[in-house]
């Protein structure tokens, strides 16, 4: 469904990815694990085709979706035409809008009527009842866990079929984190394809079907979650021995 092929990208003159390749099939949960600065966020931003200054420039390689290159696609079209959603690192919710405004904003480009939007809103509130309680509050006032729910809910409101998650566990208490992954697992069973980036390798491998290990801008290992868990070098570097 999504394939990244020999991707080289630069920020200015500094190359941040040196030939990254991986694939994501429909219905899968795949994880990209690696230490801070490995290039995980860079990879996700490249897929989303985000504009400067955040975005890296692709100098070599390709990103394909359903077989076609998406290098020329505008970021808003990556979301609305290709159905790829990103839950960014640090959530990046709109703190000056209410919870409900954050969610409806994601339906901005949708042509369907408000009934369909209401239905989707109902579905998000069903998944995250906390958001329903707080729908009229400014998103700024939410706790970290609630902000993460909002960031995921927002991506779902855009009707994405693939969701890219950038360190969803960051800053969450263990209970909230497991709740979040349980909800995501449930969404995957309903057909959502998931690519999750994590520093927390243990949690990520428990959650995902397959994974890739990234180090300083390159993929250094890949396999099913079980294989990676058993890999001595992965064990040593990412799972605490």
């Amino acid at each position: 469904m999504l394939s990244v092929e020999n991707l080289h990208v630069r920020y200015g003159n500094i190359e941040a990815l040196h030939g990254v390749s991986f694939t994501l099939e429909r219905g899968e949960i795949v994880t990209l694990i690696g230490a801070n600065g490995a290039g995980k966020t860079t990879t996700l931003h490249s897929i989303m085709r985000l504009p400067p200054p955040e975005a890296p420039r692709v100098t070599q390689g390709d990103i394909r979706f359903e077989g076609a290159s998406i290098l020329g696609v505008e970021p808003h079209d990556v979301v609305r035409r290709l159905g790829i959603g990103l839950v960014p690192e640090g959530r990046r919710i709109f703190g000056n809008l209410t919870v409900q405004e954050n969610l409806t904003l994601a339906t901005y480009a949708r042509k369907d009527d408000s009934a369909a939007v209401q239905q989707d809103l109902g579905r998000v509130f069903e998944l995250f009842p906390r958001l329903k309680e707080r729908q009229r509050q400014l998103a700024d006032s939410l706790s970290g866990g609630e902000q993460q729910m909002l960031a995921v809910g927002r991506a779902l409101m855009s009707r994405c079929e693939v969701i890219l998650l950038d360190e969803p566990s960051m800053g969450l208490a263990p209970l909230l984190m497991f709740d979040m992954f349980r909800t995501l697992k449930h969404l995957n069973e309903e057909g959502l394809t998931i690519l999750v980036v994590e520093q927390n390798a243990k949690v990520a491998l428990d959650f995902a079907h397959r994974g890739y290990v990234m180090d300083t801008g390159a993929i250094v290992a890949e396999g099913t979650s079980a294989e990676l868990r058993a890999d001595p070098s992965v064990k040593k570097a990412y799972l605490g021995g």
């Binding site: 808003h76 709109f94 409806t104 901005y108 480009a109």
Partner: protein, 307 residues
């Protein structure tokens, strides 16, 4: 005494209306882009000139069409002037600001570019149309009505009403509509907006359409009220409107609106008690004191929320 007070209040409201209408445009663009669009005063000037040509054309004075009655000229001029002036604003955005944004240029360069755009508009006008001033044709009945010793014209009242309605309209757009929501979202965090499937450039163009459109409307009303046009008419009033927007709390629509009227009041009241040569000196000293007490402006808040 009380009559002259009412007279001054009315005059202040009218002056303030022009400042407010222009300040609203500064505020919208700043709120969304964090760009102080220093060309905005000159867009107002271009709006006044566009008004001149549109009205002269519709009156049949160019001989291209048979002249229309005055009410029809006015009814057509308002939308035409707003659309054409909006076009000027959007053109600036397209050829001057967007390329810089694409390259991720530092804000300083964008502000300098805005200053240059203003100078280009002024001097382009000078080169194209010459230095002679234009006299704006009279469109509305300017008989002075006197109510309880206070002199007013229909035009004067209309200017105030239009300013208030424009404010209410813009406020509604920003608070209630989806595109207004997108504008607020951009002001908070531009990065995440395309992730919502929203084309950021479209929202930015819309912002320039609103800001410049209402500057055009201000230009039309100004030309009708003070019917002598020159290429530098936008510079001073533009600076003042910008200061009004800052004192009101730049980025806040309510602030821009209130700031415009505040400046109008301060100016008129200073003239009521001091020689008129003191006007700007005292007016700006007062505004300086307000900013000194409250650096974020009257309605400004020190958080990331704009407009």
């Amino acid at each position: 005494m009380i009559e002259s007070l009412f007279q001054n209040i009315l005059n202040a409201l009218q002056w303030g209306s022009f400042y407010s209408l222009i300040a609203l445009g500064y505020c919208l663009v700043y709120g969304v882009l964090l760009l102080i669009n220093f060309a905005h005063g000159d867009i107002f000037m271009v709006g006044a000139y566009i008004s001149f040509f549109v009205v002269t054309f519709l009156l049949g004075n160019f001989g291209l069409i048979p002249g229309l009655p005055h009410w029809a000229v006015l009814a057509l001029a308002v939308p035409l002037v707003m659309i054409l002036t909006a076009g000027v604003g959007v053109t600036l955005e397209r050829i001057a600001y967007r390329p810089l944004r694409r390259k991720g240029a530092h804000r300083l360069y964008v502000v300098i570019t805005a200053l240059m755009c203003g100078l280009i508009l002024e001097n382009g006008n000078l080169a194209l149309l010459g230095a002679s001033r234009r006299n704006f044709p009279a469109l509305v009945d300017e008989t002075v009505i006197t109510v309880g010793g206070v002199n007013m014209t229909v035009l004067k009242l209309a200017v105030i009403v239009v300013a208030v309605l424009s404010f209410l309209f813009l406020r509604k757009v920003v608070v209630k509509t989806k595109i207004g929501m997108a504008m607020r979202a951009i002001s908070y965090d531009k990065f995440a907006v395309p992730l919502m499937g929203i084309p950021v450039d479209t929202v930015i163009v819309f912002t320039f359409v609103l800001g410049s459109g209402f500057a055009g409307l201000a230009g039309l009303l100004f030309a009708m009220t003070y019917p002598v046009l020159d290429p530098y008419m936008g510079a001073m009033i533009g600076w003042k409107a910008f200061i009004a927007a800052v004192v009101g709390g730049i980025g806040s629509i309510r602030g821009a609106f209130a700031g415009g009227f505040l400046l109008g009041f301060v100016e008129i009241m200073v003239v009521a008690f001091f020689p008129s040569t003191f006007r700007d000196l005292i007016a700006f000293t007062i505004l300086l004191l307000i900013l000194w007490r409250k650096p974020t402006g009257l309605f400004g808040v020190a958080r990331r929320t704009k407009i």
